[in-house]
């Protein structure tokens, strides 16, 4: 069965550079969530989209922005990267806005040097 696809799997950027992470949800899923997981830490919710509109916002820095496109894929744009942004970034998708099971992707490991 198709799963949540994230790209790239690994990304190395320098401080102050910009990075774009992509997430392709499971087919027919209309809701996407972004999480950041630092080393040894639990996943922290960043932002979510439902039907291409932002639905919830968590601890997402102002330097980051995200959007969901007409084909339901989502992109997380990160600017002015800092060393502390190094983390695993997960995307999850679900069908519907109410509670349904959320499926996580394999994540993108971002390293800022």
């Amino acid at each position: 069965a198709a799963g949540v696809i994230q790209s790239p799997r690994h990304l190395i950027k320098e401080k102050r550079e910009t990075a774009t992470l992509k997430c392709y949800p499971i087919p027919r899923h209309d809701t996407v969530y972004w999480y950041q997981q630092g080393p040894g830490q639990d996943p922290q919710f960043l932002i979510s989209f439902y039907e291409k509109m932002q639905s919830d916002k968590g601890s997402i820095p102002d330097r980051f922005s995200a959007q969901q496109f007409s084909d339901y894929h989502s992109e997380l744009n990160m600017s002015s990267l800092e060393l502390g942004d190094s983390a695993l970034y997960f995307c999850a998708s679900s069908l519907g806005r109410g509670y349904t099971e959320a499926f996580f992707g394999q994540g993108t490991r971002l390293t800022v040097v």
Binding site: V32, D42, F45, D56, L88, S94, G96, G107
Partner: protein
């Protein structure tokens, strides 16, 4: 703000025994409490969800209980196997599916 505590960072048990992991929270009860498994460098994998009006949920060798009075969930793996070794995360959701607050996780090691 909500604080979630999972029992000891690491839990070591012998194969065949039952592993019991705890998840305690401090503030108001969530609408849904979920348990995920996470292997190193990989995304969390959904295991079970229990709603605030449910006491217990089972799935194969897994069992979850939810006590809103104690503000606690217990996660049991019966007949544990070395392949069950992973980090287990509990997550609280108040509104919708993926917007969850995760605990720090408990790393379970099942020894043969």
């Amino acid at each position: 703000s909500q604080k979630i505590e999972q029992n000891s960072e690491a839990l070591n048990i012998q194969e065949g025994k039952t592993a019991t992991l705890t998840c305690n929270y401090t503030n108001y009860s969530p609408a849904y409490l979920q348990w995920y498994r996470q292997d190193p460098g990989r995304g969390p994998v959904f295991l079970l969800l229990i709603r605030e009006n449910e006491k217990e949920k089972r799935k194969e060798r897994l069992k979850v209980t939810f006590d809103t009075t104690l503000k606690q969930s217990l996660f049991h793996i019966t007949a544990s196997q070395p392949a069950d070794s992973a980090t287990y995360l509990c997550a609280l959701a108040y509104t919708n599916a993926g917007k969850s607050t995760f605990g720090d996780g408990t790393t379970l090691t099942v020894k043969p």
